[in-house]
Amino acid sequence: MIGGLFIYNHKGEVLISRVYRDDIGRNAVDAFRVNVIHARQQVRSPVTNIARTSFFHVKRSNIWLAAVTKQNVNAAMVFEFLYKMCDVMTAYFGKISEENIKNNFVLIYELLDEILDFGYPQNSETGALKTFITQQGIKSQTKEEQSQITSQVTGQIGWRREGIKYRRNELFLDVLESVNLLMSPQGQVLSAHVSGRVVMKSYLSGMPECKFGMNDKIVIDKQGKGGTTDDTVKSGKQSIAIDDCTFHQCVRLSKFDSERSISFIPPDGEYELMRYRTTKDIILPFRVIPLVREVGRTKLEVKVVIKSNFKPSLLAQKIEVRIPTPLNTSGVQVICMKGKAKYKASENAIVWKIKRMAGMKESQISAEIELLPTNDKKKWARPPISMNFEVPFAPSGLKVRYLKVFEPKLNYSDHDVIKWVRYIGRSGIYETRC
């Protein structure tokens, strides 16, 4: 189990130090700083073993979070906890920064006491935590309130308290996907996958029972078997194959295993309902066509064409193409038809930004790169051209089919709930070799 938890700033100074077990001494703090933060070579492994002590770390901007243990713990569990811890802190005071951590250190210690007990992770649901760990001054709670909190935290549904009331029952559903791609210069897909999340914001009264449906292949096929064959053919085209998925703790897994239906009592506020990954039939929103020509030893000509590959009615946003330049670049001239392009010496790349671009369009940039002859015989490694964008659809093809809400005790029905659904596809690592 986790023996201790430390938070460092970028200089390696300790901001938060909480030791849960005796086998972790104060010197562990220094060991991590010396061997990881200040290591001569950048440490890329998230798990470091120093003197039979394991350090698991995640980095949020300039802040290092490290969990320490001497035991053989489940590393996935530790990382899940660290991520959760980041979420909780974000929910309480916004961005994780040195400033914020310093300002809220009492709160953080309070949180750490609650979500980790003798190194065992406890309830880390923000909604539940917020009922008894508050940033307001000490507000003495009544006996009933206290007992209510106790019964809720220790009860079966620890993530939702009873007696929530809203005038308007509203529900926001976001499908957020990031699409990753590696393509050869000839346009052959070398690897591609989409990792997606379904994030929900619910403002519902009472203890509603929800049911979520999407075009998962297995579910559709199952239903198709029961229904007409015609139906199967029609829906089979649109269904997607999900490689693996994980759910929020509120989802009844037994029901999912038996019926493949996702039913749950949602927490109040924002949470992540599920996470999934697909690798088949991905819609690649952009195609990058690079053309690099070396003209002698001191000149390089680069031409890059990007083509958008989705419905013309949709608009992609925040498009950014990053064309790496050789390390001995001494000057760059860029011409582009659309957007703005600039040579950024500090990043060794030409960055081309386009604000908006409709589907089925094409745009082009050409650059002349002047090189300084060096006495280094190493050839330029030609790193891939990468791209960033945001599109208003799900590249995996996922569709939300329904989200039903039942609240038997209160007098509102599924139709009274206002539901909002939004799809956002972003680029993950979207690269084309040149």
Binding site: H10, Q42, N62, L327, N328, T329, S330, G331, A345, S346, E347, N348, E370, L372, P373, T374, N375, D376, K378
Partner: protein, 977 residues
């Protein structure tokens, strides 16, 4: 540095550096650097030429970026350009960049060398210094090639400035260290030596470093420096503290120069010239006197400088080792330091005293400090100082104080630091052995040692104690008693159990008279430790048990019971199991006589260098002993160890069947498995043999199945020797061994193998024949650990063989070291056909006894066969031609071996004739043809072999143009099938 002119501040660089310092993260830093690099690249690329200042600035930035750990792959050209600038700062930055970033890029090196050359020939001393520093900093071979001739000239030129001379001397030293072959002093030598007389102390200091280094290589050429150095030294020593002004350091005149002078003198023997020597002794006395004076300053620098000179002087005195007076004074001075409160001084004093102790003049003087040193060993806080104290105690030990020192070291061992324990143990063991007056004290000491620091007692130590106990009759009883008492402790170390098991097994009878240590009590005591021990120890204990059976027949039933128990006889460890089974059988089958012979008391070990000493030397590293000496000692140990294993085979009963490494009680298990330098005897012989096995594998396996592995070889050897010991002790050649005819037959169809083997000697053979000539290699392997002396071999051709065979032998060396192997070449020429085989007589002395044995050399007529291929038709025509009755020889005989066609074929081929296929109408039969080549004539021979599988009989027919040949061949071959 010349005054910084306006604008030399390089604001851009300062801004850049402060930007980098302000970066919050590594990423930010990399970004800033990338930006700067791009900027510099565009500046260097730019069309308009850069002025010197900005060039310097950018090169400086590049240098800074490089020092931060980033790769720089451009800017070299700009740096080289800076070299030709006239401004000091620009030149300086250029040289700096090149010394830091130069890589052996040919074109650039040429440019750089050019620039350096220009600077060297300029009259500007600062530029010359810069160039010299650059050469020294780079110090590459190319630099040495280009400037090794130039620099000595600058060094000795009369008009060179002093500062340049200093730089030149140090630069030359650096070049000499990297490529000594290129720096040839030759003509400059005497002028360089005379730099010692230079007015400027800095030049002298620099020159003396160079001279020290050079004189280590060619001491004779620089011999003249001794008198110069002495006079220089005496001038410094006798000067008042204010005379040397700049070179006086905290009231000590020129301490660095003095140290270097003293160190230079240590490269040479004491000066022969009386006047010089007198002056030097005077200097040394003055230095020693000065040490007694009250310090002129309380500052630590003052005493450090003074002591530095003093210690150098003392090591010079020790180096000369010829002035008893000075040595004793030095010793007394060091004695004072032993109690100094400065730890470093105590350490240095102990270290110097160690070397002093080995001098005959000062040994007694060192001994007077024994109490102080013992005290240091006990109370010193720093482990390295304690280590030195232990070293010194070891060095000052002699017969008079051995008991005290060993006792002190033993008592210290209980609290000693873990890192030095093993070394301490070795030292105690060596001292105890070296200075032991009575051996009971020695045994006590070593047993104490094992009790106190059992884990650190290496194998060698307890091997040694056993060797000594076995070789000394007077101490055996005492040893047995002491060991018995020591074993009664509830928890004793495994090494103690090993020693106990061995000694009680050998000499338990000496204390069996006492009812308190009756045989059964002894056995029960040993057996109570059995289960707590590791496998090798248990194996040793089992051997001890079987020896008990011999010593005390009354314990037989008890011990047999133990051996019979499942935990022994069915032990999962094969060694233990085998021992148990063998010992059980041995004890139940063998008569008491046999038991007494097999389990006789160990014979004394041959005296040899203590293996412990070798181990200590090894631990100390080659610094303490010359590598050669060490290796020699080691090899000797190995050979002896390897040999002894064979020697003891009769005693350690299990050896008779398997000489496994854990079986040998004294064989050094640390010996690497047959190193190339010192192979053990057995393995080489086996090598020869296995090669033979490859050549005619089918044969080997069929004809002599038991000679496949080394183990069984040994077994066979020892078995043979029991029945027929080669003990004909006379000066005349012994008659051929009875089995030599058999041995001869073994080699009719093969050329390589083991000719003979007994307990002492193994003879391997390898031979090759062409036409009427043959060459035979004999390998004599000494299987024992003792050398064979007056080893002679003679080959004789009895009777008429003399005229038939011409045999030439090369003389072998008369000495074969234990475990070694020698080779002898014999050339044979066949003059005409012959019947008998030449005799090989071997004589040597083994441990005083003359060994004499005679063997038949496996030279038979068929060795000179030349195969002849012929068709069926030809064959029968020849066959008919040789139809006279005396030309034919026929024999019908029973098969001795299985009738395998392939084996038969292989044998016939080995005979040397051509095996003719598809000639005989009956495919079962074999026919062969060949011509025997002798010098006088050629004898054609035909052979026909008809096997009868049903009757297991053969009919062999031979026809040849000469009747004697047919007869002889027939006789030879009849034995083969």
């Amino acid at each position: 540095m010349p005054a910084v002119s306006k604008g030399d501040g390089m604001r851009g660089l300062a801004v850049f550096i402060s930007d980098i310092r302000n970066c919050k993260s590594k990423e930010a830093e990399i970004k800033r650097i990338n930006k700067e690099l791009a900027n510099i690249r565009s500046k260097f690329k730019g069309d308009k030429a850069l002025d010197g200042y900005s060039k310097k600035k950018y090169v400086c930035k590049l240098l800074f970026i490089f020092l931060l750990g980033h790769d720089i792959d451009f800017g070299h050209m700009e740096a080289v350009n800076l070299l030709s600038s006239n401004k000091y700062t620009e030149k300086q930055i250029g040289y700096l960049f090149i010394s830091v970033l130069v890589n052996s890029n040919s074109e650039l090196i040429r440019l750089i060398n050019n620039a350096i050359k220009n600077d060297l020939s300029s009259r500007n001393p600062t530029f010359m210094c810069l160039a010299l520093h650059c050469i020294a900093n780079v110090g590459s071979r190319e630099m040495a090639e280009a400037f090794a001739g130039e620099i000595p000239r600058i060094l000795v030129a009369g008009d060179t400035m002093d500062s340049v001379k200093q730089s030149a001397a140090l630069c030359l030293l650096r070049l000499y260290k990297t490529s000594p072959d290129l720096v040839l002093m030759g003509e400059w030598t005497s002028r360089v030596v005379h730099l010692l007389n230079d007015q400027h102390m800095g030049v002298v200091t620099a020159a003396i470093s160079l001279i020290t280094c050079l004189s280590q290589k060619n001491p004779d050429e620089f011999k003249t420096c001794v008198s110069l150095a002495v006079s220089r030294l005496s001038r410094i020593v006798s000067s008042a503290s204010t005379d040397l002004q700049d070179y006086t350091y905290y009231f000590v005149p020129a301490p660095w120069l003095s140290c270097k002078l003293l160190r230079l003198l240590q490269c040479y023997p004491p000066p022969e010239d009386g006047a010089v020597k007198g002056r030097l002794v005077e200097c040394l006395e003055t230095i020693l006197n000065k040490a007694q004076e009250p310090p002129k300053s309380k500052k630590v620098q003052h005493s450090n400088a003074k002591n530095a000179i003093l210690f150098e002087a003392i090591s010079l005195i020790i180096h000369y080792d010829s002035e008893p007076n000075l040595l004793v004074r030095a010793c007394n001075q060091l004695g004072q330091f032993l109690q100094h409160r400065e730890t470093n001084l105590r350490y240095l004093a102990l270290e110097s005293m160690c070397t002093l102790a080995s001098s005959e003049f000062s040994h007694e003087a060192v001994k007077t400090h024994i109490e102080t040193v013992i005290n240091a060993l006990k109370t010193e806080r720093d482990v390295s100082v304690r280590q030195r104290a232990a070293d010194l105690l070891y060095a000052m030990c002699d017969r008079s104080n051995a008991k005290q020192i060993v006792a002190e070291m033993l008592s210290y061992l209980e609290t000693a630091d873990y890192s030095i324990r093993e070394e301490m143990v070795l030292k105690v063991a060596i001292l105890a052995e070296k200075y032991a007056v009575d051996y009971s004290w020695y045994v006590d000491t070593i047993l104490n040692l094992i009790r106190i620091a059992g884990d650190y007692v290496s194998e060698e130590v307890w091997y040694r104690v056993i060797q000594i106990v076995i070789n000394r009759d007077d101490v055996q009883g005492y040893a047995a008693k002491t060991v018995f008492e020591a074993l009664q402790a509830p928890a004793c170390h495994e090494n103690m159990v090993k020693v106990g098991g061995y000694i009680l097994g050998e000499f338990g009878n000496l204390i069996a008279g006492d009812p308190r240590s009756s045989p059964l009590v002894q056995f029960n005591l040993l057996h109570s430790k059995f289960h707590l021990c590791s496998v090798p120890t248990r194996a040793l204990l089992l051997s001890a048990y079987i020896k008990f059976i011999n010593l005390f027949p009354e314990t037989k039933s008890t011990i047999q019971e133990v051996l019979r128990s499942d935990s022994q006889i069915r032990n999962s460890d094969v060694e233990l199991q085998q021992r148990a089974v063998e010992y059980l059988k041995l004890s139940s089958i063998a008569s008491t006589d046999v038991l007494a012979t097999v389990l006789e008391e160990m014979p004394p070990f041959p005296e040899r260098e203590s293996s412990i000493l070798a181990k200590l030397k090894k631990k100390k590293g080659p610094g303490a002993v010359s590598v050669n000496e060490l290796e020699e000692g080691k090899r000797e140990g190995e050979l002896n160890g390897g040999g002894e294993r064979g020697d003891n085979s009769g005693i350690s009963a299990s050896n008779a069947s398997t000489p496994s490494p854990s079986a040998d009680l004294l064989g050094l298990r640390t010996v690497p498995p047959v190193s190339a330098a010192a192979p053990s005897a057995g393995s080489l012989l086996v090598d020869v043999f296995s090669e033979a096995g490859v050549n005619d594998d089918g044969f080997l396996r069929d004809m002599e199945p038991p000679t496949e592995s080394s183990d069984s070889l040994l077994a066979e050897g020892s078995g043979d020797s029991d029945s027929a010991p080669p003990s004909a002790v006379s000066e005349d050649p012994a008659p051929p061994l009875p089995e030599s005819n058999e041995l001869l037959n073994k080699f009719v169809c093969k050329n390589n193998g083991v000719l003979f083997e007994n307990q002492l000697l193994q003879i391997g053979i390898k031979s090759e024949y062409r036409q009427n000539l043959g060459r035979m290699y004999l390998f004599y392997g000494n299987k024992t650990s003792v050398q064979f002396v007056t080893f002679t071999t003679t080959v004789t051709c009895p009777g008429e063989l003399q005229s038939q065979l011409n045999v030439q032998t090369k003389i072998v060396e008369p000495l074969i070291e234990g475990g070694a192997q020698v080779q002898q070449v014999i050339n044979i020429e066949c003059l005409t056909d012959f019947l008998d085989a030449p005799l090989l007589n071997i004589k040597f002395r083994y441990g005083g006894a003359l060994q004499n044995l005679t063997l038949k050399l496996p030279v038979t007529i068929n060795k000179f066969f030349q195969p002849t291929e012929m068709a069926s038709h030809d064959f029968f025509q020849r066959w008919k031609q040789l139809s006279q009755p005396q030309q034919e020889a026929q024999k019908i005989f029973k098969a001795n071996h299985a009738m395998d066609t392939e084996v038969l074929k292989a044998k016939l081929l080995g005979l040397g004739m051509a095996l003719l296929e598809n000639v005989d109408p009956n495919p079962e039969n074999f026919v062969c043809a060949g011509v025997i080549q002798t010098k006088a004539q050629q004898v054609g021979s035909l052979l026909r072999l008809e096997p009868n599988a049903q009757a297991q009989m053969y009919r062999l027919t031979l026809r040849s143009s000469k009747d004697t040949v047919s007869q002889r061949l027939c006789e030879l071959l009849a034995e083969q099938f």
